[in-house]
Amino acid sequence: MKIAVASGKGGTGKTTVATSLAASLGRRAQILDCDVEEPNCHILMSPEIESSEAITLSTPLVDMSKCNLCGKCGEVCNFSAILTIGKTTLTFPEMCHGCGGCMLLCPEKAISETPRELGAVETGSFEDVEFVQGRIRIGEAMAPPLIKAVKNRLNPNKIAILDAPPGASCPVINTVKGSDFVIMVTEPTPFGLHDLRIAVEAIEPLGIPMGVVLNRSDIGDHEVQTYCGEARLPLMLQIPFDRQIAEGYSRGKMLIQTNPDYVEKFIGLFEDVSRFVRKRSETKQEPQS
């Protein structure tokens, strides 16, 4: 079972929900922090990191002794990462998406590949929970290949909890794709509602069922609840604002460490999610590609 935790708006409590859910499930769970730009699960879990692996992207390296300046590479590159100018062929590795087109299509076979470091994937454990996180190198723009590398370490024998980045664009889609369920975490404010809607719209075409966890559920208005009713999104858990939880979080404590009563609620959340997924696979309303 793969459960992604997403939100649209940042700072609504994705990491709070993902870490407490995984820790409540204990040895059955694996947590994968896919928010590679700002991974925060490690702050709340202080995992023991056992290994770290650099993740790279292959970018072009031109052998000028073979290059006849035909300019084909620049013509085929859709990302402005290689260009023949005057008597030389220049590369712009930061622009390269690693498609390998220039190397493949160079008539002189003058291009080989050299790695550009995107970041690292670290694996380890927090108590019985398996822990994986990606961390993008500062200055690096391409998150999706790193997210893919994190997901490559997904353990099919565990309940995988994937902590997604905020927003609703390609890094979020790359994270939630292939999940059985998406838990959307939001807060009851106009910003929380607006960004929830966008994220729901982005994930809907993937055909993955979603449910909502409302964090700081008593701080704003009631529009998120209304929306959930209209959009038939199950409201699965509400977490009222509690200054103690906020203080615990600020010190790097998980919600279930500050308030252990929540262990049962998170196990309940998981059971609701699995019931949902089971029911769906039995009825199989929409065939998915």
């Binding site: 649209g8 708006k9 940042g10 700072g11 609504t12 990491t15 928010d35 590679v36 730009e37 700002e38 925060n40 702050i43 709340l44 085929v76 859709n78 990302f79 998406h97 690693g98 498609c99 390998g100 087109g101 493949l104 299509l105 993008i136 500062i138 200055g139 723009a141 391409m142 998150a143 980045p165 905020p166 927003g167 609703a168 664009s169 390609c170 890094p171 979020v172 889609i173 794709k177 404010t189 106009p190 910003f191 607006h194 960004d195 966008i198 994220a199 719209e201 982005a202 994930i203 075409p205 993937l206 701080i219 704003g220 906020a246 203080e247 979080y249 600020s250 010190r251 790097g252 590609s289």
Partner: protein, 290 residues
């Protein structure tokens, strides 16, 4: 003309609330929302759209099943696993690199331009504004951010405005890099949690890599004064000017629910702190004429 970009690293630390307040306080400016995948500034500013334009940011492959002879070469060369087993294109995985298009021996593949989103030229309660909306799930946010900033610059020149206030995206990746490169000043807003500290450090390291003068603000600083002091110490060591601290104040949420900027009511401790920050920022950092 000056361009100030507000970012945070961590999401939900108060970027948009602060930008909206600056928008209320600043004169002679254009506003730009560069959080193109979850833009929220327009919720407070309630802009009237003057122009809506399409943003075509990239291409995606499609295979003509009548011409395809199922040789599978496209799937072999694709590094993004975007060609399915039945030799069709998975548009979500397609990166738009066109390698399959170039290698297909039957010319069965074409590259179609993709509508990635829209951008809007608006008039708002706080003056002219540019914002954009990436279509849900789409790519090329960095390109759209660059477009929004360029349009804001053009508009500011046209109208003779001296300042562009830019609301940035969370994180340190593609859209953030695109929103700060070439800006005059960056403001990083954080909150006193270990996550806030960690994410702020990464954001400031990014900005310093671009050699852009940076100031910082700690929001809700009194939620955890120990972590606030840790943040202050780190900023001091890294020569980042802490331009102000905002106390936790429930009126911030109240004003958001009423779709107002925090400073509009002119009441409460957060309002006061933000006004002081703006005064120092406009006078000492942006050197705007009073």
């Amino acid at each position: 003309m000056k361009e100030l970009v507000i970012i945070s690293g961590k999401g939900g630390t108060g970027k948009t609330c602060l930008t909206a307040s600056f928008g209320y306080l600043a004169e002679n400016k254009v506003m730009a929302d560069c959080d193109v995948d979850a833009a929220d500034l327009h919720i407070i500013l309630e802009p009237r759209v003057l122009e809506k334009e399409e943003f075509w940011g990239g291409v995606k492959a499609s295979i003509d099943q009548f011409k395809c002879v199922k040789c599978g070469l496209c799937a072999e060369v694709c590094r993004f696993d975007a060609i399915t087993d039945s030799l069709t294109v998975d548009p979500i995985s397609c990166e738009g690199c066109s390698v399959c298009f170039h290698v297909c021996p039957e010319n069965a593949i074409k590259m179609d331009e993709v509508l990635n989103g829209h951008w809007f030229k608006c008039e708002s309660r706080f003056g002219p504004m540019i914002h954009a909306a990436l279509l849900p799930g789409e790519e090329n946010s960095g390109k759209l951010v660059a477009l929004v900033r360029n349009q804001a610059k053009t508009l500011a020149k046209e109208l003779g405005k001296s300042l562009i206030l830019v609301d940035g995206a969370p994180g340190v990746g593609c859209p953030v890099i695109s929103s700060i490169s070439g800006a005059n000043n960056v403001l990083v807003i954080t909150e006193p949690s270990l996550s806030g500290l960690h994410d702020m450090q990464r954001a400031i390291n990014l900005v310093q890599g671009f050699n852009i003068p940076t100031v910082a603000v700690i929001n809700k600083y009194d939620i955890n004064e120990t972590v606030s002091s840790q943040i202050e110490a780190w900023l001091g060591e890294n020569k980042v000017n802490l331009i102000g601290k905002i106390p936790y104040d429930t009126s911030v949420i109240k004003s958001m629910v009423q779709r107002k900027a925090v400073v509009e009511s002119n009441q409460g401790p957060a309002n006061e702190a933000i006004r002081n920050i703006w005064e120092r920022l406009s006078r000492d950092v942006l050197n705007l004429e009073a």
